[in-house]
Subunit: 700 residues, 2 copies
Amino acid sequence: MRRKGRRGKEARRSAGGKEEEGTLAGVIDLAVDWMTDLKEGVCLSAFWYSHEQCCWTSNETTFEDRDKCPLWQKWSELLVNQSEGASAYILNYLMYILWALLFAFLAVSLVRVFAPYACGSGIPEIKTILSGFIIRGYLGKWTLLIKTVTLVLVVSSGLSLGKEGPLVHVACCCGNFFSSLFSKYSKNEGKRREVLSAAAAAGVSVAFGAPIGGVLFSLEEVSYYFPLKTLWRSFFAALVAAFTLRSINPFGNSRLVLFYVEYHTPWYMAELFPFILLGVFGGLWGTLFIRGNIAWCRRRKTTRLGKYPVLEVIVVTAVTAIIAYPNPYTRRSTSELISELFNDCGALESSQLCDYINDPNMTRPVDDIPDRPAGVGVYTAMWQLALALVFKIVITIFTFGMKIPSGLFIPSMAVGAMAGRMVGIGVEQLAYHHHDWIVFRNWCRPGADCVTPGLYAMVGAAACLGGVTRMTVSLVVIMFELTGGLEYIVPLMAAAVTSKWVADAFGKEGIYEAHIHLNGYPFLDVKDEFTHRTLATDVMRPRRGEPPLSVLTQDSMTVEDVETLIKETDYNGFPVVVSRDSERLIGFAQRRELILAIKNARQRQEGIVSNSIMYFTEEPPELPANSPHPLKLRRVLNLSPFTVTDHTPMETVVDIFRKLGLRQCLVTRSGRLLGIITKKDVLRHMAQMANQDPESIMFN
Amino acid sequence: MRRKGRRGKEARRSAGGKEEEGTLAGVIDLAVDWMTDLKEGVCLSAFWYSHEQCCWTSNETTFEDRDKCPLWQKWSELLVNQSEGASAYILNYLMYILWALLFAFLAVSLVRVFAPYACGSGIPEIKTILSGFIIRGYLGKWTLLIKTVTLVLVVSSGLSLGKEGPLVHVACCCGNFFSSLFSKYSKNEGKRREVLSAAAAAGVSVAFGAPIGGVLFSLEEVSYYFPLKTLWRSFFAALVAAFTLRSINPFGNSRLVLFYVEYHTPWYMAELFPFILLGVFGGLWGTLFIRGNIAWCRRRKTTRLGKYPVLEVIVVTAVTAIIAYPNPYTRRSTSELISELFNDCGALESSQLCDYINDPNMTRPVDDIPDRPAGVGVYTAMWQLALALVFKIVITIFTFGMKIPSGLFIPSMAVGAMAGRMVGIGVEQLAYHHHDWIVFRNWCRPGADCVTPGLYAMVGAAACLGGVTRMTVSLVVIMFELTGGLEYIVPLMAAAVTSKWVADAFGKEGIYEAHIHLNGYPFLDVKDEFTHRTLATDVMRPRRGEPPLSVLTQDSMTVEDVETLIKETDYNGFPVVVSRDSERLIGFAQRRELILAIKNARQRQEGIVSNSIMYFTEEPPELPANSPHPLKLRRVLNLSPFTVTDHTPMETVVDIFRKLGLRQCLVTRSGRLLGIITKKDVLRHMAQMANQDPESIMFN
C-alpha cells in the first residue's frame, strides 16, 4: 500500500510539471498571435488584442467581413489615415519589415547574451543527452526563459521556422527544472532521463494537440532507452499537457488539435498514385533540405560566416520579410497557411483557394459539394502557391541552424502542404474535365464530390515531414490525431513510407542525426545495425605498438606515482590490477574520485606523504618497518567494472554499450587485463566501418 | 540502394503474413456468426446463412422487423411447426443446449487429440517465448489449424469466453509459419521474435480493429524486447491486417472497429466521480477474478479434477447454456451484448434498454434526445442485467483456463459494460428526477441530454479489462480507437488508472503474469523493479558448503573424464578454465555441443579413445610420447562468455539478464572463476526476495 501512495504522488508531481508546459504553450500561442498581427496593424480598443480578438469585441462583425472591422487599424490607417493606394501599401510593407527586423534582432541578441544554448531546435542535443552524454546548462532555467521569449519573437518575425521542435526543448527544460526539485530525480541520472522522455512527449503533445503521437514521437525519435513505466508516465504527461492547453485555450474554439480538419469524402484506390508521388516529393525535399542545410551549417562552422550570427539573422529576416510580404501565402503565419491548405472547401468558404465556378442551377448543400471547375481565384492561388513553395524551400535551408530558436516541423509541413494542395487541385480539375478517362470512370461520375484537395495537402505535409525527420509511426499517428479519422491512415502511411524510402536511398541520416554528426556529439544510434565481423580486440586500446595501458596496481604504487600518472594522462579512469606481472583485474577507479581522495587524504589524514603506498585491498600490504603510513583507497574502487573477452564480436559489444548505456568496458583474456574500449572508440570504429572519417565526428 | 530493395521485400513478406491473419480473422467472424445463430434456428434459403444474412436476402424486411423474416426458422418452427407456446420454448431451449454441448465437445476433443497447446488464451506462453524460452510446437501449424477451428466452436457454443486473446496466439502461429519460410528469420532467434511481436500486434489489430492499440498492446503487454524497427513493422502489420479484415468484411457495414459508437454529448466534470467508482469496481473485479481463477486452476492442476478435462468442459457448457438461455442478455453472443450496452439511445433504437417514456408534446429529433424517465423496459433490463452480471462473474472464473481456447477480453469487457450501463442509467435517472440537486444543477438543466449511459458502459468495460490485465496505455488507446474521439480519453484514463491502482493494491500480478507463475515458466518480468542490495556472490552457485563448480580444464582432461562429468551432471554447459589451480576462465562449452563433438570424433576421427586428452587451446598440449591422439575442441568453445565480478550488485545483474536476454553468466574475482548464475538462479532469488516460495515457481 505504501508503494501505491508513493506512485500516486509521483504521478501528481509529474502532472504538476506538465500543466506548466501546457500553460506555457498556451501563453506562447497568444503572444505569437498578437505579435504576428502587430506587424500589420494595431487594435484601437486595446493594443494587446490580436486582430481576431480585436474584431470579436466589435460585435457587429461576422466571420466573413472579419477584415473590415473598424477597431483594427492597419499601420497606414493609423499613421497617415490611408487604407488604400500605393503609398499606404508601401508604408505597411515598411512597417512589416521593420517589426520583423526588430523582433529578430531582439531574439538573436537575447540568445547571444543570455543563453547561447537556446538556439536551434534542441532535439539533436536532447537525443544526445538522453543517450547519456551531459551538456551542462543545456536544460537550465536561463535556457528555458530565454528560449520561451525568443521563440515568440522569432515566430512573430515571420522567419521560416516553427515553434514545435523548440517546444520539445522548452518542455525538457521544464522537466529538468521539476526533477531538480526532488532529490529522487536530481540524484539519479537514469530517473532524470525518464522524466525528460516524458517531458519530450508532453512537448509534442502541446505542440500538435496529439497526446498519443507525442508519446510515440518520444519513443521513436527522441528517447534512447524507453522503459515501460516511462510509456505510461509519458502518456499521462502528454494528456495533462494537452488538456491544460485546451482548458486555457484563449480562442474559444476548443482546439485541442492544431489543424483540425473534417473531410466529407473517402479516398479512392486510384488516388494512391498521386499520394505516392507526393511521398517521392517528400523524400526528395528531405534529401535536398538535409544536404543543403548541412552544407550551409558546415560552411557557417568553418568559415568567417560563423562570426557574424546577428548580421546573418538580420539579413535572412530582411530577405524573408521583403519577399514574403507581397505574396498572401507567405505573408500570413505559416500555421495559418497550413490550416487553410488542409481545409476542405465548404459552401461558406471565402478563401481564394475555394473560388470555384458554381453551377447556378444547383441548390447548394452545406457539405458534400460536387467537384466544380476552378475559377480565377484558384488559378491565381496556384501561381502564388508555386512561388511561395520555391521561396519556402530555399529560405528554410538557410534559416534552420541560425543562432535563434528554430523548429522545422511547420516549414516542412508547409512545403508539403503547398505541393500537395497544388497536386490535389490538379487531380481534381483533371477528374472534373475528363471524367470519361479510364482512371476516373469508376469512381468519379460527373456531379460527384470525388477529390478533396485538402487531403492531398495533408498527405504532402506528412511526406515532407517524414522526409526530413524520418519519423514513421509517430508521424502517421500525429497526422491521424489531427484528422481523427482512421480512414486516412492508408494514404498517410503510403506517403510516409515512400518518403522514407526515397530519402533513405540518398542518405540514411535524418536531419537530427545529421546535426548530431555535424556537431560531433558522441551519440550511439540505436537504429543503426552493426553487422561487421570485427572483434573487441580490433577496437580496444592500446593497439599493437602503442604504449601499454595505464593501470594502477592494488598495493604497490605510491601516492606520487599515481599523481604523476594522473598528470601525464587525461583518461577518465584507470583499471586496477593485482600486479603488473599477473595483470589480473580487480576493479576500476575514476580519475575524478582518485584526485579528490588523494587531496582529502593529504589534507586531513596524518602521515600521508608522496612516498605513501596506496592500496585498494581490504587489508594494508605488509610494508617495511620504517615506511610511511599507507593510504587505503578501496572506497573509490568500482569492484564491478564491465568486462568482455578479446574474442567478443563487436556486434555484441555495440549491443552491450547501447543497452546498458556504458561509457567504457574493459577487455580481458583468461582473466588478464588486455585493454579498454570507450564509447568514443566504439563510435570511431563504427564510423570507420561505414567509410566515414573517424576523426571528424568526435567531440570533447 | 540494394539495402532498400531488401527492406521493401521484407515489408512485403511480412505484409503477406498479415493479410493471411486479416483473412483468417474475417473467416472466423463469419463462421462464429453462423454457428451462434445455428443454436437458435436455420435459414431455409441456404443453411449456411446466419440470421442476419438470411433476412437480408428476403428483401421485404427493414431493420426493425428483422426478427420476423420468414426465411429464418427457429428450430421449433422447423421441427414441430410451432413458434409460440411453452412446448416450442422448451424445444428451442433443448436445441440450444444440445448444439452448445456438441460444439464444446467437438472443440475439447480436437484440442485433446491433435494440439494440446491450442488451449487457453496463449498470451502467457507467448510472453514467455518472447522472453527467450522455447516451448517446442507451441507455435506450430497444427496448433494454428486446431486453435482456429476450435476457437470458432467454443465461441459459438456460448461459453463465457472471447476470441481476442486466442487470436493473438493464432496470429503468432501465422507469424512463426511465415518466418519459417525464410531462412533469415528461421535461423535467427532474435529476428523470429521480432516477427512474433509484430504478429501479436496484428492479432490485436484484427481483434479490435485498432492498429495503434495493437502495436501498443504488443509493446506494453506481450513483447519482452521491442526494438524500434519492430515498432514500424508492427504498425505496418497491424494496419495491413486491419484493412484486410475490413476489405473482406462480409457485413457490408465497413466495421473496421468492433464496437463503433458515436455519442452526442460531452462528459462533465461531476461525472468523473461515477467513472472513478467504475474504476474501483474494475479493480475489485480484476482482483476477484485473478484470485478465484488462479485458485481454481491450481486445484485443477493438483487434484483429480485435472484428469477429466472433457467432462469439465461439458459440465461448464451445460451449466452456461441452461442458465444463459432464459436471460436475453446472456443468450445472445457476448460481443453483441457489449455492442448494445455501448450504444447511445437514438430515436430509432428499438432495444429494451432504450424504452424511455417520451414526452408526447416534444418533436423527436434524430439525435440529441434529452434525458427522459425510464420506462418498464429499462427497469426489466436492469434486473436482467444484474442477474446476467452475477452469472457472468461466476462462470468466467470457471471457464478461463479449461482445455479449450479461451480469451478473457470479451467476458471482462462484458462484466464492465453491464455494471457501467447500470450505473449510467442510475445516474441518468437521478439527474432527471433531481436536477435541482447541487451536483446536477450546473450542467443538467431539464430537457437537456446530459448523461450518456453508453459511455458509462464503455468506461466500465475499460476499467474491468484494466483490472484483469493491468494494461494502461494500450487499453486507453484501444478504447479510444473504438470511439474515435479524443474527448473521452480522460474518463477512460481515470477509470483505467483507478482500476490499476485498486487491483495493484491487492496483488501486483495481472492475469497473464499470474498464469505464468502458476505454470512456472522462467519469465523475468521487465516491469518488476529489483531494489534489494544483494550481490552476485550471494546468488551464484556453488554456495558455501556445496561441492565446487563442475569445470573443464583447457588441456588436461581426458575424453573419459568429460563423459563422466556429462553423465553425472545435468548442467547445460561447463566453464572452461586454464587449470584447476589458477581457475582463470577462458570460455564456456555447451553440453549439447560437447556431446555431439565427442560422439562425432569417436566415430570419425582415428585414434580418439577414452584416454585421449581433450584440449581447447589453439595448439595441442605437449604430451608424453606414447599417449593417444589428443582431441581438439576449440570449435565448440564460446570464447566470449558473459562475466560479472562477485561484487556486482544483483540489481545490475538482473538488469543485464533482462536487457541482454542472457541464460547464464559467470562470476569471477580478479580473473578467477568463482561460480555461475543462471536465469533460474536469478528468478529463484527474486522470488525469495519477494517472500515467495522459490521452489514452487520453477519449471523444467
